[in-house]
Amino acid sequence: MSRPRTLFEKIWRRHLVTAEAEGLPATLYVDLHLVHEVTSPQAFTELAERGLPVRRPDLTLATMDHSTPTDPSIDDARLRVLDPEGSAQLDRLLANCEQHGIPLYAMGDERRGIVHVIGPELGATQPGMTVVCGDSHTSTHGAVGALAFGIGTSEVGHVLATQCLLQHRPKTYEVRVDGRLQEGVVAKDIILAVIARLGIGGGTGHVFEYTGEAIRALDMEGRMTVCNMSIEGGARAGLIAPDDVTFAYLEGRPMAPSGDAWEAALDDWRSLPTDKGAAYDRTTTLDGSALEPMVTYGTNPGMAIPIAGAVPEDDAIEPEKRASFHKALDYMALEPGERLQGKPIDVVFVGSCTNSRYSDLLAAANVLRGRKVADGLRVLIVPGSDAVKRQAERDGLAQVFVDAGAEWREAGCSMCLAMNGDQLAPGQYAVSTSNRNFEGRQGAGGRTFLASPLTAAASAITGRVTDVREVLS
């Protein structure tokens, strides 16, 4: 019998075209390559310059998400005027996909959405696969038990041309979250607490595997939220072992196996979880039952505190990190020791590949139902895909948002990275369900508090950073 192996190790070994050798990286086969408009044009140009075809268009899937408008009144013709560069980039993706026979979910296609929302939604990302995309939040797909990670544009070209990547084997890091979450504490709070603990470079060189009772108890969309932000902890990938929750989620999805192939796949997928006795390079454990709703105060996702807490005082920060700490607080116009709860805000954004799935919108709608957003507050609700949008409209969630006074938008990345015109004005504060609070991320001069959809919805009602448990009680 072979020695015990981790989930990561099993997937890695299955995809080795050639193993690592003295001074040479491994050649790793890619099962699914996801493509979007922003990080692909230069890769297609590289192929054109070398006269190379796309090796496996049947393992490649493209969508438009980053620079697409979410304002329903902006049609193709208006976009050309409002954003000629963004529009040209979308045209380029269309032409590249047509030329190479790559399936593309373009504007108007009902399968279109944020790349990391549609992959699982279509059943395209499956346990045991390798999945890559020119996008750091590709780690999301690890929620189904796939080894999924972001790559640069040069590597997008490598995969287009060869379906392979040159990679060194990363180390493994078990992130164990025991216990049961309290009321009002959700997947987003877990991952913000993990990053606050490990630091944003804590996972560099590693792949996370999330284990423990609190992770097992999450539904698939919660698991996607956790894996999505692995990169904010420095890990290129985050994995969760596939289980019955995973299989129930995937069964019947358009690209998932069916019939005999489904049964064969299940047998295979059940062999993937980490073997008893397998060793990780590093391990950390958090007590899930002690977690509280989390919110960030600074300019990276590791600068997070329990919502009832306060911005750290200087003496809690290591001396060599104080300059960067103060730079962040200056940007956020906050003081050491200041409490965030009750801080007035200008915008609430519910969306992004972290928190724009149906369950995220449902959580926000349940808080907002029968209530109104605060006077003068702008609230954007941006579904992650056209399918999520349609389901939310069918089930009445969209009406809840509209009745509350929020803006109900078309699917896309939107204000997460503010490439499409949805952005904060300089100096504005937002509670956002997205993944990055970097300086200017949501618009030049904009200030972001990252939080869960529950916290975002509660804050939408009061116009201030708010503990959802106070609204619900």
Partner: protein, 207 residues
């Protein structure tokens, strides 16, 4: 395409900030390009210009705007440089500006990989070496260091040198101009054999 890199001597631009993310290196508003050029004006634009606008007033105390660092081609940065987004536009912008190397105590994984594919050398150093370099460049902006990729050494301002780690394959590619895509394309027979032995479970065109 990487340009070859063997030995480089130059001055340093100090950026003593930790966790510089790729959104700061090149903001998302510059990502609408469809080629790799023209990004240097966007490099650190939010820190470099008033309102982040390259047409606007330069922020005089930002390192790239200080005359004494105008010729620097080595960026000396704080820990965990290049975290966040996978955008390869970050090394394109740094290289477009003229940087040949970045020295830091650590680099984010994707940035490191992207940089090395674009002839931008990442030089990891210990905290002590980093502190010594910041001290030296603060005392004398004209301080020069030499990065020798062949020997994997970085000269120290007070004399002596330190070794640094670099991925051996990336090093070889930078030294002899090996093209990584060409290297992969040469593995076509092995890739074909892998595909023959492992049937795909998916056809993205089937939906």
């Amino acid at each position: 395409m990487s340009k070859s890199f063997t030995r480089f001597t130059g001055t340093m631009a100090p950026l003593p900030i930790q966790n510089v993310d790729t959104d700061q290196i090149i903001p998302a508003s510059y990502l609408k390009v469809t080629d790799r050029s023209g990004l240097s004006s966007g490099l650190f634009s939010r820190w470099r210009y008033r309102d982040g606008d390259p047409e606007g007033e330069p922020i005089s105390d930002f390192v790239l705007n200080r005359a004494e660092h105008g010729e620097a081609r080595i960026l000396l940065a704080g820990d965990n440089f290049g975290c966040g987004s996978s955008r390869e536009h970050a090394p394109w912008a740094l290289v477009g500006y003229g940087f040949r190397a970045v020295i830091s105590t650590s680099f984010a994984d994707i940035f490191r990989s992207n940089a090395l594919k674009n002839g931008l050398l990442v030089v990891p150093v210990t905290e002590d070496v980093s502190a010594a370099l910041f001290d030296a460049v603060t005392a004398d902006p004209a301080t020069e260091v030499t990065i020798d990729l062949e020997a994997r050494t970085l000269s120290l301002p007070g004399g002596g040198e330190t070794n640094f780690e670099v991925d051996p394959f990336a090093r070889r590619c930078l030294l002899d101009g090996t093209d990584q895509l060409g290297y992969l394309l040469n593995q076509a027979p092995a890739i074909q054999a892998f595909e023959a032995a492992n049937a795909a479970r998916l056809d993205t065109r089937s939906d």
